[in-house]
Amino acid sequence: MKIVVCIKQVPATGADKRYTDDLRLDRNGVEAIINPLDEYAIEQALRLADDGSADGVTYLSMGPEQASEALRRALAMGGDDAVLITDPALAGADEWATARVLAAALDKLAPDVALMGMASDDARGSLVPGAVAAMRDVPLLSYGAELAVADGTARVRRLSATGYDWISAPLPVVATVTDQVGEPRYASLKGIMAAKRKPMETWSLADLGLSAADLRGAALTTVTDTRPPEEKPPTERIENLPAAEAAAEIADWLAQRKLI
């Protein structure tokens, strides 16, 4: 059973982020990390390798050349090899274009499970995994708090409105996992050294049999404007008051806004 974990390099949480003049995320001088939610997908894949359910873990990323650093960091946690898809025509790719490219790469890698994080830190649509599943015509098992694979079937434990369900589908599948799979492991020094010797390939669009025209300028959407959020009035503070008086002030505040 072979797993491909799709990971995305993103600006560090809390980094000073901004848009460039052409309304794309400015990545210059911003510390880049593995999307934190993808680390849970890595951890889930490595657990399946540890318990013998998986016999191969490959990482796949699409991004600029520096995204190879994210792949090296993943390889330091464990796993076997990695593929970076990088191409100038992919700059500014939207969710549809990203899914198109990942689907083509997964067609080539043909894993039993394509595993992804539930969302990325820098864009919050969470549509790429489902779009990839639809493009490859394989089942989608999403938002798993846990992923199990046995006898040609994958299952995820997913929160329901009133509890949780185990949702299953025959392999191959696209699956996504949440932060409930367990804390991602740290890379050991030995792991970091070993990662340097693990194979990493770089593919262009042409290697996937895709052209820039297939991706329609890398996006079906266009950002027409960015602006700061509406100015909020400064925070009002209630301090050093006995509880009953503080409560009365809060209630007045709520009443003024017709919230009670």
Binding site: T13, G14, K17, R18, L37, D94, E95, W96, M118, A119, D121, R124, G125, S126, L127, V128, G130, A131, A134, M135, D137, P139, L140, S142, R155, R158, A161, T162, G163, Y164, D165, I167, A169, T178, D179, Q180, R216, G217, A219, T222, V223, T224, D225, T226, R227, P228, P229, K232, T235, R237, I238, E239, A243, A246, I250, A251, W253, L254, L259, I260
Partner: protein, 326 residues
């Protein structure tokens, strides 16, 4: 191509989700701008019987994709058949089920995707959306690229549209067109487990009282529940509180929990870490109650009450009950 605005209308246990009512009204608003009709794509148990009543909230027509409780993604083939060349936009709730179906539409029909948005409109025949990006520091306006296929897929945050009430209209109901074979239909529920405690759907609450690490224990949520009940709201939590097992994960707000947009959010003992903030930053009013005068939540709350939540919250509950005369 028509100028219709479609929307996903989820049903379960015989009833429409609140998102279905909100999106019915939102779709009607956009349809009035585009010169089309608001069309429901209704799925889940109760959809067949309940679809017509979406007319009271703004839907002109309703297409029933299916009427069983099964994984939402398995309705993708029917949703695809009903959406193909079917209008200007499909509105989907920004929930796990809504995202799964939206993604299937994007991937199967090669459609532009937006969101989660906090506003949407049709300007001179073109869809325009507004989204908070970079952790709320930037508001981005986006449109379909020139010549992009339709319909556009739009993930919509809860409470972006207020459901119109008091309408008496009835939507014209039809069955979904025949769907193509798809592997997406192969997911099924293998086992179902009920949680120990009954949990509410936080995305539907207009008032939320959320507890964080400062609540300290499972019992510590008692006073928060009392306040929520006095306000007619629901209790939520930060990840720290859910991880500690004080409250079910269904009630977790944040990056990996629910994304909520209530009229009022009260955070008690919640520090306001960025991962929590992205789940509630679009709340209309934010009150924070925290012992730590330097807690990050103080930077973005509208009202910051510095003090002991175990004294202030019961006092506030009493005060509200007194004013409501109950």
């Amino acid at each position: 191509m028509s100028n219709d605005i479609l929307f996903l209308a989820e049903f379960s246990g015989g009833k429409p989700a609140r998102s279905a009512l909100e999106l019915a009204t939102g779709a009607a608003e956009l349809a009035s701008q585009s010169g089309g009709a608001a069309v429901a794509l209704a799925y889940g148990s109760g959809a067949a019987a309940g679809a017509a009543a979406l007319g009271a909230h703004g839907a002109t027509r309703a297409i029933v994709l299916g009427d069983e409780d099964r994984p939402a993604i398995t309705y993708a083939p029917a949703a695809v058949a009903a959406s193909r060349d079917a209008g200007l936009a499909v509105l989907a709730p920004a929930t796990p089920n809504g995202r799964d179906l939206a993604a299937a539409l994007v991937g199967t029909l090669d459609l532009p995707a937006f969101g989660p948005v906090r506003a949407a409109r049709v300007v001179e025949g073109t869809l325009e959306t507004e989204q908070a990006t970079l952790q709320g520091r930037v508001i981005t306006t986006a449109r379909p690229a020139d010549g992009a296929p339709t319909p556009s897929i739009v993930l919509v945050l809860a409470n972006t549209f207020a459901p119109a009430e008091g309408g008496s209209g009835s939507a014209e109901v039809s069955e979904a067109p025949a769907a193509a074979e798809s592997a997406l239909a192969r997911a099924s529920v293998a086992e179902s487990h009920e949680a120990d405690a009954k949990v509410v759907n936080l995305e539907e609450a207009s008032i939320i009282v959320a507890g964080g690490r400062g609540v300290g224990s499972e019992e510590g949520f008692g006073p928060l529940r009392d306040l929520a009940s006095a306000l007619g709201g629901a209790v939520g939590a930060s990840r720290a509180a859910a991880d500690a097992g004080w409250i079910p994960y269904q009630l977790q707000i944040g990056q990996t929990g629910k994304v909520v947009k209530p009229a009022l959010y009260i955070g008690a003992g919640v520090s306001g870490a960025i991962q929590h903030r992205v789940g509630m930053q679009t709340a209309e009013h934010v009150i924070a109650i925290n012992k730590d005068p330097d807690a990050p939540i103080g930077e973005f709350a509208d009202l910051f009450v510095v003090g002991d939540l175990f004294q202030i919250i019961p006092a506030l509950t009493d005060e509200i009950r007194r004013r409501k005369g109950s």
